[in-house]
């Protein structure tokens, strides 16, 4: 019996629909002014909101305990008071370091503070630093991102910002794509299990399911470099800070909503 072309066509169409429409039936948004939370599948969104189930709570519990821990030196509380009093802090990073021309992000500041208070070996992706970052970002929830040039240092700040913008629009890696190609031109499109978000850094630090750990924006940016098969910049590289500055300024005004869960 000859195969029915229309029947085959219908079956292929259904198969294509099944392959393309993985998660929710409604299409993903393509608005570039949205938080990453808008691109989470319902299961992960529910996990994020469930305090007793979410792994983020482990880091928040640890951070709250560390905030008042004075075993190695003065505690954070000793100088800063309660974490809530620093609620505008997370929204203003990255900043120009006090003495030089280099940019620092919130985790860099926590590492510096840690060294001052007796924790000399702290690194940005350590659980303790991540825990404190989580606490500070939780305190800053709802605060609009507000990254501005410091008075009197507009020139170096602007240079970092321009370099960040340039990095955002430069093709790189074996895959030869620039950030704009995905995060501006293809927002809402699916790549296997991932959905392309606009890349607004409102939800950091993130518990990325593939990391099974909390991580910083810097780590996520390095992951992006590996995604396009480019050489990863070293941890702490100026390029990563410049990119972070550009992303934050691009998202200025958007409310912080971290820490969050991501795929």
């Amino acid at each position: 019996m000859r195969p029915n072309p229309r029947g085959i066509g219908i079956r292929l169409g259904l198969l294509a629909a099944l392959l393309c429409g993985a998660a929710p039936a409604a299409p993903w948004p393509d608005n570039t002014k949205l938080s990453g939370n808008a691109f989470l599948p319902p299961g992960l969104l529910k996990l994020q909101g469930d305090v007793n189930n979410s792994p983020i709570t482990l880091w928040l519990d640890k951070g709250r305990a560390l905030w008042t821990d004075s075993s190695t030196g003065p505690s954070c509380q000793n100088c800063h008071g309660p974490a809530e009093s620093l609620k505008k802090s997370a929204a203003s990073f990255p900043r120009l370091a006090a003495k030089g021309q280099s940019l620092i992000d919130l985790e860099d500041q926590i590492v510096t503070c840690s060294a001052r208070t007796g924790r000399l070996n702290a690194r940005a992706e350590d659980d303790e630093v991540l825990a404190l970052s989580a606490v500070l970002h939780e305190a800053a929830r709802g605060q609009p991102i507000d990254v501005q040039a410091p008075p009197g240092q507009a020139a170096p700040w602007q240079a970092h910002l321009s370099h960040g913008a340039q990095l955002f629009t430069t093709r790189r890696g074996r895959i030869n794509l620039a950030c704009v190609h995905c995060h501006e031109q293809n927002v809402g499109r699916q790549m296997r299990a991932d959905v392309v978000s606009p890349g607004n850094p409102t939800g950091f630090p993130i518990y990325r399911m593939s990391w099974q750990r909390l991580g910083t924006l810097e780590r996520r940016l390095r992951a992006c470099y590996s995604g396009v098969q480019a050489v990863l910049p070293a941890v702490g590289a100026p390029d990563l800070r410049d990119l972070e500055l550009y992303l934050k300024v691009r998202a200025n005004g958007m409310p912080l909503d971290g820490p969050s869960i991501r795929r």
Partner: protein, 111 residues
Amino acid sequence: MATNIPSRLTFAGAIRPGNTIEARWIVGHPMETGFRIDDAGQRILRNVITQVRVLLNGKLILELEPGTGMSANPYLTFPVTVPLTGGSVRVEWLDDAGQRGSVQQLLLLEP
């Protein structure tokens, strides 16, 4: 080097004598499978929680033997029947590296 592994034990449901409530336990353990290779090409040693004991008022009610098939930062919910006078639930664990940990939560009877 003993790092302080965070853990949380909470309950859902009315804590009244005879009620069966849901206990939720989460622990911040990396559950290293032993299959991963680090940047230097060296295999990262397996370190998973291998034994968990759940005690209700000091008496063992549940014993778990997790393996590498449990995800990192393990999470488990299980039923607990509230005793007549309440009490406490304690979860203790042991991992491949010999590290022990525990978390406890009181069962405060609701009026």
